[in-house]
């Protein structure tokens, strides 16, 4: 447990910070020291109080107890403007940008360069270019924010903070929305900013990220500090232990047993958007057998999502066939496919996987509302629902899946991302469908829960389920999949059996090289300009 080993004076000191929300103690006597020119990781499971702590540092919340010092001086922020004036900048978990405005307009918003009282567009664009060059943040100042990818939007958020001359940069779970290569370039930017003398706090619950980018780590659990480490001397096990209070065993697919008959088969499936003239997926064929997990790797946006949507039936296939348990379902509606035996954990949890304004109970009911115990398929109760059964089933699932809520009536939108994800997983796994498609099943979920979700997926497999697992996390695919398919530009460019799937090979194929003729090449995707090299 080392801290303040360096000679640099602390840029920020949080001393004995406390904050409660009603009965919930979000922060309790938290001390945090950020040294100038260093990258400090704040880690902890969902609900540990990380965002609350950062919100207080940025003036969005007022602490109930404790003291904040910036450059040795005690400060009391009454709002984010005070924090900005003191040299802080924050990139939030959810972006706060104007979609219809350009990058440059968003960046300078609130501190515009003016000429004769009006926004000086040329100066704004020049400023964005200057900052992008200085920190290696690729953007085009004139692009409209609404058209940008999540990674690009995040760069706009960072530029916004840098534009205001932030010397202390707070990034709250910045990697949650990024692809692996975007994460790497973000880390490069963070390093460059720190080398430049800025102080960076990065909130995350991913251990490999902490090890990759930070100099020091503070771990929170249930609102208290449970560990302080210099990253160089910390191990993954120590961090996990501090975060969860227990050891986590790594879950690994035993790759034993012979898969059964084909449960899902996709033949020459294509999805084209005629209007936009885009081919999302191009003659994709794959099969998933019972008792088998087939992984689909790929940088996001290479057709994985359209593949899932076409198998589920929410978008039409342009060509090819989808067979579920031997039946051709290519033109069948979603309901029939699900009734035949398909469950899907979707990637877009807020947009597709849940209704944020509805309760946990109502969210966990969709698809189960016409069958026992909630509904009835025949008899006088057909078409009616038992609210009591709905609630008690929801309570059971909340318990089984360890969803942290104030009760089954809480709106799912007010849950943390990881807990909402558990609700979605509970709903889909409890279909006990022969075929399961899991798209980014552990997104936003913390270590302890990832392990348990992985465990459940392996149980599903052992019970004869066929799983198509789409993931951006190579480690997840390596831990779970019997085979890994790699998608690139709408096509499957590589198929690697469990034994031959390695990070290097999958990474190479994800970048577009055919895996067959790229043997043990070095890792082009994961290590472009090694963040800490």
């Amino acid at each position: 447990m080392t801290s303040e080993t360096g000679t640099a004076a602390p840029a920020v000191e949080l001393i004995g910070i406390g904050k409660r929300f009603g009965a919930v103690v979000a922060n309790d006597g938290v001390d945090l020291v950020l040294r100038r020119g260093s990258v400090h990781a704040v880690m902890g499971e969902n609900g540990a109080g990380k965002s609350t702590l950062m919100s207080m540092l940025f003036g969005l919340l007022e602490p109930d107890a404790g003291e904040i010092r910036v450059d040795g001086k005690t400060v009391r922020f009454t709002g984010p403007l005070d924090a900005i004036a003191a040299g802080l900048g924050m990139v939030h978990q959810h972006f706060r940008l104007f979609d219809s405005m350009t990058v440059a307009e968003n960046v300078v918003y609130g501190a515009e360069p003016r000429r004769r009282g009006r926004l000086d567009r040329a100066a704004a664009a020049a400023r964005v270019r200057e900052l992008s060059d200085r920190y290696g943040l690729e953007t085009s100042p004139d692009a409209v924010v609404g058209t940008l990818s999540a990674g690009a939007r995040q760069r706009v958020e960072i530029l916004k903070a840098l534009h205001r001359e932030a010397r202390i940069l707070i990034l709250d779970e910045p990697t949650a929305v990024l692809t692996p290569s975007e994460v790497d370039s973000l880390f490069a930017v963070i390093r460059r900013a720190a080398d430049d003398g800025s102080t960076v706090v990065i909130v995350t619950h991913k251990i490999h990220e902490v090890l990759a980018v930070s100099d020091e780590v503070t771990v929170l659990r249930d609102g208290r500090v449970t560990g302080r480490f210099a990253t160089a001397s910390a191990t993954g096990e120590q961090l996990v232990h501090a975060m969860t209070g227990r050891e986590i065993e790594v879950v690994q697919n035993p790759r034993s047993g012979t898969p059964g008959e084909v449960a899902l088969s996709v033949e020459d499936l294509s999805v084209t958007d005629a209007g936009a003239g885009v081919t999302h997926i191009d003659a994709v064929s794959l099969t998933v057998r019972r008792g088998e997990i087939v992984g689909v790797a790929g940088v996001s946006g290479n057709g994985q999502h359209e593949l899932v949507a076409a198998v589920l039936g929410t978008i039409p296939a342009t060509a090819g066939t989808v067979r579920l348990l031997g039946e051709d379902v290519t033109v069948r509606p979603v309901r029939e496919r699900r009734a035949l035996g398909l469950a899907v954990i979707p990637e877009d949890r807020r947009g597709e996987g849940s209704a944020v304004t509805m309760s946990v109970a109502e969210n966990v009911t969709l698809g189960h509302h016409r069958s026992a115990p909630i509904g009835a398929t025949r008899g006088i109760r057909r078409g009616w629902m038992s609210l009591r059964a709905e609630r008690s089933r929801a309570r059971d699932l909340i318990r089984d899946y360890d969803v942290r809520t104030s009760g089954e009536q809480q709106p799912i939108g007010s849950l943390s991302g990881g807990n909402a994800q558990k609700v979605v997983i509970a709903r889909e796994l409890s279909h006990e469908a022969p075929v399961l498609i899991a798209e980014q099943p552990t997104q936003g979920v913390d270590v302890g829960a990832i392990e348990s979700i992985h465990g459940r997926l392996l149980e599903y497999r052992a019970g004869g389920g066929a799983i198509l697992l789409v993931s951006h996390e190579i480690s997840e695919l390596l831990a779970l999949a019997d085979r890994v398919l790699v998608m690139y530009a709408g096509r499957i460019v590589a198929e690697l059996a469990g034994a031959e799937a390695t990070t290097a090979r999958i990474g190479a194929a994800m970048a577009g090289a055919a895996a067959h003729d790229a043997p043990a090449a070095p890792d082009p995707v994961l290590d472009p300009e090694g963040p800490r090299a």
Binding site: R114, A123, R153, H163, V344, A355, E362, H369
Partner: protein, 368 residues
Amino acid sequence: MSTTERPPVPSADAPPARHRAARLLGAALRHPAVVPIGAVVLALLIGAVIILAAGLNPITAYAAVIDGALNPDSLDYTFSVWGFICGMALAAAIPLRMGEFNLGGNGQLVLGGLTAAVIAGYAPLPGPIVIPLAVLGAAVVSGAFGALSAPLATRFGIPIIISTLLLSPVAVAVGSYLVRFQIGESGSAVAQTPRLPEGARMWALGDLSYSNVGLLIIIAMMVVFWLVDTRSAVGYELRVVGANRRFGAYGGVRVGRLALGAMVAAGAAAGIVGAIIVMSSPYRLIDGALISPGYTFAGLAAALLAGGRPALIPVTAILFTVLQVGGAAMERSADVPRQLSDVLQGVVIVVLALRTVLDQRRSERSSA
């Protein structure tokens, strides 16, 4: 930093809440009841300003409204109007539950009234048969008319809000034409059908002259809507689609069929209201008389104010009933034109619509 002035402009990130009190207030303001109640208060204030500008006393005027609507002598009439507004609120609320707007209430109302006038006026059947038959016929015809909008939306991509709005005047015009030239009472100065035979009039409730069994029918429809909404699979699916259409489609809800069902039910509700009005005093279909009281608009406003929630509709309908019935009394006793009621309804709708737009803006801004 040479290119920028220090920003006095509030940042977009978060409005600087200066004090704890301001934050508490902010949290309180986000309560879901605030906007609807605020809309009503705002409407009343704007109304007061208008009355003042006309050189009259708003307190007297509002007192006249309340008195006109709630004084014991007029309660019978007030209840019947409340029923009609509730019925038209159903016609708006059922599709609203799944996020669709039915703006075709007038057409559905007129077709229902027309059907009932024809069946009750011409079918030579005894009362116990002809009255239910007229109500059912109205429900079927108006339901079918409402249903047109669903395939237009699913097959041809014409939004329901548009098709209902555009189809409605067609139905109203057809109704007008038939009353004027085909089934109207000959020799009458007014375009109206002959009075219905005694046996084909809606059963009375005791010795009340306005409220009749039709009111009970509408209350029953509201109870059914509440039951379906809260505890049936279809009601659940409606709410799911209303909360997040993509979530519904992903979960296997047949959104097109649901829209069809919702529009049939909405049209039928409006049609039944039309039938009840025609079979109540003065027991005939008078050209324009179904539309001019503005039940459709008042019902829409009540449904919007209730957010489509069945349990709230009877309550929000009271507000618009008081405005509607009291408005006429206000005109008589306080000399304020009754159109003021329409202005107040309009303000409520605009404020609620504004909220929808602002919500969309906000979600655009925080899109991830």
